[in-house]
């Protein structure tokens, strides 16, 4: 019992980094994914090609390889000293961006062709039609898979303990190793993840219902 209490300060510290990496990473990933997803339905072959290669490469490689590549590989190649948190945020952004690209593509492609035509017919430009007509409708349909991606990315941050980022799992394991107790720290780590994922699910369901016109 005392371990459950004693582990709390370091887990709270770890939670902070887990949360920051996830939220900042997913936010950047959403912007990347929005562009890449629209790129995947672009008629411009170059844009389509770049977006497709990006999605396939990221989807086809494990995120653990990606973080090691970014943190060690890129630092080595470019001779820079990337800090761990930045590297983690980049890894989540780039990784989630690829999956979000597919979510965006699916969302936009699910909108009836007549909506594009109606936008065209009143003289809106392609980008105006996309922004005012298609995007708001597509976004609503994208919320469930986006929520899913948020939870996946949140859990993926645990892999960054491999480069000793002080996130939730790393802090829990550090405590366990230093006290030689394992049950309570890892139980608490699991509960901490659930403490974010379950409220996140509830909030997302509320947003979804609210947008359901």
């Amino acid at each position: 019992m005392e371990h459950i209490i004693n582990v709390l300060p370091s887990l709270l510290q770890g939670l902070k980094y887990t949360f920051i990496i996830t939220v900042v990473g997913i936010s950047i990933g959403f912007v990347i994914g929005a562009f890449a997803g629209l790129g995947r339905i672009s008629k411009n072959k170059l844009i389509f090609g770049i977006s497709t290669v990006y999605v396939e490469v990221i989807r086809g490689t494990p995120i653990l390889v990606q973080i090691l590549f970014i943190y060690f590989g890129l630092s080595d190649l470019l001779d820079i000293n990337l800090d761990k948190i930045t590297a983690s945020i980049i890894a989540i952004a780039v990784n989630a961006g690829a999956y979000i690209a597919e979510i965006v593509r699916g969302g936009v492609e699910s909108i009836d062709k007549g909506q594009f035509e109606a936008g065209d017919s009143i003289g809106l430009t392609k980008s105006q039609t996309m922004w005012y007509i298609i995007w708001p409708q597509a976004l609503r349909r994208m919320i469930p898979p986006l929520g899913n991606q948020f939870i996946i990315s949140l859990k993926d941050t645990s892999l960054f303990s491999a480069i000793a980022v002080g996130e939730l799992l790393y802090e829990g394991r550090a405590y366990a190793n230093s006290t030689f107790t394992y049950f309570e720290p890892f139980l608490m780590v699991a509960l901490f993840y659930l403490a974010i994922t379950i409220p996140a699910s509830i909030i997302l369901r509320r947003i979804e219902r609210k947008l359901d016109v």
Binding site: E117, G123, V213
Partner: protein, 240 residues
């Protein structure tokens, strides 16, 4: 108002329009009839470049819209379009559906656009629906909103692509009434329709398109009473 010269349109190897030429005068109401798959909807959709033209030319109000240099959105803003399936924006209220184009394309102020939208809604008998969402409207109401949305752009021409085909029979009348009023006000209209009663009563001219060409055209009375070609005779015998 509209001059179509030797219009061809192919989808891949399939040639849908095989050389259509026609002149539509200002204030004229032209009804386009023909069997399904004849190319009549494609013809209409070419008139506001929803389909790109394979060859031939279309001139609207003195501007050749088939010129590659044409500002396509600008052309479309002058040509109103009403679709079979309404295509209202489901995430916007009736009022927002109507004001979007005037606000974003014509650069009208919010007050100006809303005032015009309310006038149009009053005209089509839907003043009480301004703040409703399309999902709460009947098909006939949706189509009347769609007509208002097109009219809000002050178009020079209105195109109707089977505007009553998706409606329950008892709702057809209210939409046709709005269209009839519009015709009486002098709007230039091209209407693809299966409503022969409307074509006869409101149309100035009927064009019968079959197999991608204008098979026959003329005064509605003549077209319906004395069809010359065998194909028109057989088409009319099936639908009347």
């Amino acid at each position: 108002m509209i001059t179509v010269d030797n219009l061809h349109k192919s989808f891949g190897n399939h040639e849908v329009l095989k050389g259509i030429s026609n002149k539509i005068k200002p204030q004229e109401v032209v009804c386009v009839i023909g069997p399904s798959g004849s190319g009549k909807s494609t013809f209409l959709r070419c008139l506001n470049l929803l389909e790109d033209v394979t060859s031939g030319s279309i001139t609207i109000d003195g501007e050749e819209i088939t010129d590659p240099q044409t500002n396509v959105p600008k052309v479309r803003s002058k040509v109103g379009m009403v679709f079979q399936h309404f295509n209202l924006f489901p995430h916007k209220t009736v009022l927002e559906n109507i004001t979007l184009g005037p606000l974003k394309v014509l650069g009208q102020s919010q007050e100006e656009a809303e005032q015009k939208a309310k006038e149009l809604l009053a005209k089509v008998g839907l003043s009480d629906k301004a703040n409703a969402y399309p999902s709460s409207l009947s098909g006939g109401q949706k189509q009347r909103v769609a007509i208002s949305r097109a009219l809000a752009m002050n178009p020079k021409v209105m195109l109707f692509d089977e505007p009553t085909s998706a409606l329950d029979p008892e709702l057809v009348g209210e939409v046709l009434a709005v269209m009839k009023e519009l015709a009486q006000e002098g709007m230039t209209m091209v209407v693809v329709t299966h409503e022969m009663g409307f074509a006869r009563e409101v149309g100035d001219r009927v064009i019968f398109i079959d197999e991608g060409i204008v098979m026959e055209e003329g005064d509605p009375e003549v077209i319906f009473e004395q069809p010359k070609s065998e194909r028109l005779q057989s088409f009319l015998s099936k639908i009347l």
